[in-house]
């Protein structure tokens, strides 16, 4: 018994799908969120992130499939009985209640004695580093402070699962970075499971244990941030996360791909045959003088179009004859040779840095 529940995933979606009339908001999806995991649903607008999250919360029912939370089939269980927490983009704090009353609210629902409520509210206010705001109204706090309060209101009743739908969407960049760290800290200190929704890839890469990349109502890829970045399985994944050079090419066997212009390069992994795109991340690529290529490296000739210097990194854009732009990123202090725009140069990358994508 104990074994079974500890082994069960925190959330388990079994062939869950959702239609709104003719619109298929979510195609049949399978997902297991592990205990204590920070899982992010990432994808462009309309890809079904909120739909999926709302089905876990119980705010909408699935058209098909079953939802399990903590080893219990909750498909037919109303949201108020799923024992979960949720953090909203617009905080959703009760404007007519003080901060104290807001955080006490879920405890009052659970009929916890008043003195215990006081203790627990004060403790979570410490945890989110807002010890002196208990008697204020939500509108007397800044956006970042309000979001901390809404986190406090969530963790105060110890839900084992917390859902967050773009919780930092309304905050400015600096505050967002700070709150990302804050949420990560709470996650690891409290050992809760978090399912997090964002369309900001950087946020997803920073925070997640795993990312579920969604596109048009289906799962594009479910992986760790590292694997999603270095081993995308589709062109969509490669383009959505980070930057990359995508060169039209065809696999010709033996781990080799032929480009439009006839040149052949070695590929690390991916499909073995067919047409598609060769993907290389910018930081794997280097600029060298034309022809001056180290052995064991892939190389392509091109014309340097331009260079952008942003902070500690330099980005070069190189036109290749296959009508693609290669993006090369180097650290600022790493530059060896200065090149000028219009110059013929070679772009090189290790043979294991290229991935062939046939979709």
């Amino acid at each position: 018994m104990v074994n079974r529940t500890t082994a069960a995933p925190m959330v388990h979606l079994d062939n869950v799908s959702k239609n709104y009339g003719a619109v298929q908001a979510l195609r049949s999806t399978h997902l297991e969120v592990r205990r204590g995991e920070f899982l992010t649903l990432l994808g462009p607008s309309g890809s079904g992130k909120t739909t999926l999250l709302n089905m876990i919360a119980g705010m909408t029912g699935p058209s098909d499939g079953q939802i399990w939370i903590d080893g219990r089939d909750v498909t037919e269980v109303p949201p108020s009985r799923r024992g979960i927490g949720m953090v909203f983009q617009n905080y959703a704090l009760m404007p007519h209640m003080t901060i104290f009353q807001n955080i006490a609210f879920p405890l009052e629902i659970r009929r916890i004695p008043a003195d215990e409520i006081r203790q627990r509210v004060m403790k979570v206010l410490e945890i989110v580093r807002l010890p002196n705001v208990a008697e204020r109204k939500p509108k007397e706090l800044s956006g970042g402070q309000q979001q901390r309060v809404s986190l406090a209101r969530c963790i105060v009743y110890n839900p084992s699962l917390i859902l967050m739908d773009e919780p930092l969407g309304a905050l400015d960049k600096n505050l967002r970075d700070q709150m990302q760290l804050e949420i990560r800290r709470l996650h690891s200190e409290l050992g809760i499971t978090i399912v997090y929704v964002t369309h900001d890839q950087e946020e997803a890469l920073n925070m997640s244990d795993r990312i579920m990349l969604m596109n048009g109502g289906s799962v594009e890829q479910l992986d760790t941030p590292h694997d999603l970045y270095y081993a995308p399985r589709t062109r969509f994944a490669a383009e959505f996360i980070g930057r990359s050079s995508l060169i039209p090419s065809e696999m010709i066997g033996g781990g080799q791909a032929r480009l439009n212009d006839g040149s052949v390069v070695r590929v690390n992994r991916g499909a073995n045959a067919g047409k598609g795109h060769l993907m290389v991340r910018p930081e794997s690529m280097r600029l060298v003088q034309a022809g001056n290529v180290d052995a064991g490296m892939n190389a392509l000739q091109g014309t340097l179009q331009g260079t952008l210097v942003t902070g500690g990194s330099i980005t070069h854009f190189v036109a290749h004859s296959s009508n693609t732009t290669l993006i090369v990123q180097e650290l600022a202090n790493e530059r060896r040779t200065a090149f000028t725009s219009g110059e013929q140069i070679s772009v090189t990358w290790p043979v294991d840095a290229g991935i062939f994508l046939d979709r």
């Binding site: 705010m59 009985r81 024992g83 979960i84 927490g85 959703a92 009760m94 009743y157």
Partner: protein, 263 residues
Amino acid sequence: MMVGSGGELRLVGIAAWSILAFLILPSLIIIPIGFGNSNEIIFPPNRFGIELFVRFFTEPGWVSATLVSLRVACATTFLSVVVGVPAAYALSRGRFPGKRLLALFLLSPIMVPGVVVAVALYIYFARIGLRDGDVRLVLGHVVATLPFVIVTASAGLRQVDPALETAATIMGASRFYLFRRVTLPLIRPSIIAGALFAFLISFDEVVISWFVARADTTTLPVKMFSSIQWEVSAVLAAISTMLTALSALVCLAVARLQGKESA
């Protein structure tokens, strides 16, 4: 095209103010007449005093009619809030078949001419043998006030961020708890505004009251209306003055409430 020239605009402005004055002046003129001391309705009065107000309190019938009106208005207000607010909640949050039809039905008294409602109620009350004068008045008035309470409460409910209700539900609140602790406090200003309007409408109502009132339960407006048929008593001006003051007070209260709500 250019926006109208300064001259044109001024002309439109003058026209608008003239029409407004034509509509409002009579109600304003009645006030000095109410403070006149003659038995005729003359403007401007020759002498000023509070004699007409004294007559209101001393002549038979006026005070008792006012008490009937107050009693009926209070009961009407209570009943239309108790029925109207839950109805508005059900209409805005519930999902059930025939919802639109029900909404149309509840709001229909606004669309049907008052005199039609009055005749219908007269016949209906006779049919079911309802004789109690107060009950007839209150039920008749609720028909007229309910739509206003529903409309103001619905407007308040639309202002409530759905995320608040979602949040409360996910935290474990039952429907009733959610309504009592979240929705109700948030729409309280709209409910009070609706209640004040209901009170005013009921206190001021003539047509329905005329048809459904019984001889022993005459409301103030009905008594005013019937008294004017026999003699044009200047006491009416004093009563009108008080009614105007009451309306103005209620409207000020509503305005303050709405100011608070939007703040």
